[in-house]
Each structure stands twice: as C-alpha cells, then as structure tokens.
C-alpha cells in the first residue's frame, strides 16, 4: 500500500486539518447559540475552559488548513507544464483549463476557494480572543456575543465552500506526484 508525498499532504490538508475544523463548527455554533439565548445559564469554569481549548484548537486547525493549502498544495496545483507536455496529469490547473467542460472548476471553483478560505482563520482567531478576554462576563455583552456568532457562521460558510470545491477539484484534477511512501507491504504470496 503506497501513497505519494503530494497525496499524503493533500489528505492532511483536506481530511486532517480542514475536515476536523469543519466538524468542530457544529460544537462551536451550538455553544455560541446556546450562550446567546435569553436566560441561558452562565457556563461553569470547567465549561468555559473546555470551550476556550476547543476554540484554540479550531484556530490552529484553520491556520494549518489555509497555510498548508497555499504554500504546499497550491504551488503543485498551479505549476506550469513545460512546452509540448501532452500528459497534464501532474499539472491540475492546466488539465482543467485544457477543456471547456472543466475550465470553470478552476475559474470559479479554485479562484473562489483560494480566497474565501482565509476568512475562516481570521474570523475564528477573533472569536477565540473574545472568549479568552470576556470569559464568564460574555453573557453581559450581548452585541459582542452576536458578532462572535455571526463571524463563526461566516467562517463555517467560507470553510464549506472551500471544502466542497476542494473535494470536487480533487476528483477532476487530483494533485499527483512526489516521492512514493510505502505504508504497508503485502506479505501475501
């Protein structure tokens, strides 16, 4: 069982950082919404600590996702093939642009994904800071809570767009190449 280095890093980017970040949203949005409800009880110190750790983890995952995408995967995606290259399998952008039936996956999908994704780490860094700063008195700052919830929802939408197009792009023009890593050896004869 083998995997290429580029495949592995793409899996970490999408399924490791990105998907975990996406999964974490359900918890964050539910907790923020619960705290915004009229008469919601103040969370216990342990609950506040847990939420802060949860949000810090989301911030780390969000930055890891966009930075690995922009500085590892995107250069492989947008690499320009040498003149006369017939097999565009190692050049995903060129492969998509070579056909009118796939070019919009780049000009809408990738162009949207590569920029909108950055909204998520900026927004979640702010939300984590708000929780760190205001902690138990957040209940007294309704408009700050509302802003945190709105930015969290926007980060979720941005991540959903980036994640969905990432999944489609990896179907039509997967990132290939790099050193081969052997994960398991077949011992059957």
């Amino acid at each position: 069982m083998e995997i290429s280095l580029r495949d592995l890093i793409t899996v970490f980017h999408g399924m490791g950082f990105g998907a975990l970040f996406m999964l974490a949203f359900s918890g964050a949005i539910a907790e923020l919404y619960r705290m915004s409800a009229v008469g919601a009880p103040t969370p216990t110190p342990q609950g506040q600590m847990l939420l802060r750790v949860f949000l810090y983890a989301m911030v780390v995952l969000a930055w890891a996702t966009v930075l690995s995408g922009a500085y590892f995967i995107y250069p492989w995606y947008r690499a320009v093939p040498p003149l006369g290259t017939l097999d565009l399998g190692l050049y995903p952008k060129a492969l998509l642009m070579a056909s009118p039936s796939t070019s919009l996956w780049h000009s809408i999908g990738m162009e949207w994904k590569e920029h909108v994704a950055w909204i998520a780490p900026i927004a979640m860094t702010m939300v984590a800071y708000i929780f760190m700063k205001y902690s138990s008195v957040l209940a007294k700052h309704r408009q700050i809570r509302t802003a945190a919830l709105v930015f969290t929802i926007a980060a979720f939408v941005a991540t959903a767009v980036a994640g969905a197009f990432g999944a489609f792009l990896s179907k039509y023009a997967p990132i290939r190449g790099g050193a081969t890593i052997q994960l398991l050896q077949n011992t059957e004869k």
Binding site: V66, A70, Y71, Y74, P75, R78, A79, S107, I108, E111, W112, E114, H115, V116, W118, I119, I122, A123, T125, M126, Y129, I130, K133, Y134, S135, S136, V137, K140, H141, Q143, I144, T146, A147, A148, V150, F151, A154, V157, A158
Partner: protein, 111 residues
C-alpha cells in the same frame, strides 16, 4: 494581578470584531485589484510558487493585525457604541464574501 471581569469594557472586543471584519474585507479587496491589474498582481507575488495569493493574504493579515493592535490600544479602557461597530464589521464581512466570489468580481471588472 487579578482582573475584575465585571468591569471589562467592550472596547477590546469591539477592536477585535472591527479589525477582523476589515481583515476579511482586505482579502477580497486585494484579490480583486490583483486580478484587475497585472502590475498589482506582480507586486503581490511575494512567493513565486504561490503567486499573487501569497501577497494578497500576507498583506491583508499584516494590516488586520496592525489595525487590531492600534484599535486595541485606542479602545482598551473604553466602552464604544457596539451597534456601529457591528454594522461596519458585518458590512465588511459581507463585502469580503462577495469580493471573493469570482462571478461578482468579474461583473465589477466588466468581464
């Protein structure tokens, strides 16, 4: 040093919210002008393998963090009108979502 949480003003939170909205907006704005003007795209190419995306995002992040720091210093002990902070921050956020959507930016550029 202990902090009395009951008396934390809303200024630091407002600074973080407004700066985050503006930072998101800058990502969209820089992406738009980078796409519209080749000379700007060239300027934003901080790291050639990543192209203009490297400069668009790095510039937006630096301005966001510097703006956050300046607002935090200015508002650290103040209570500000949160209604207006949220109106501006949400407007920036909405614009950022629009400015990163290629069909909208192409419409703005008349393509």
């Amino acid at each position: 040093m202990t902090q009395n949480f009951d008396t934390i003003p809303n200024g630091p939170g407002a600074a973080a919210i407004l700066a985050a909205g503006f930072g998101c907006f800058l990502v969209g704005l820089f992406a738009l002008i980078g796409d519209a003007f080749p000379v700007v795209s060239k300027f934003f190419t901080f790291y050639k393998p990543t192209g203009a995306l490297s400069g668009v995002t790095t510039s937006a992040i630096i301005i966001w963090l510097v703006g956050w720091y300046i607002l935090s210093r200015a508002w650290h002990d103040k209570n500000v009108e949160m209604k207006w902070v949220n109106i501006f921050a949400f407007s920036f956020l909405l614009l950022s979502l629009l400015l990163t959507f290629p069909p909208f930016t192409e419409l703005l550029q008349g393509k």
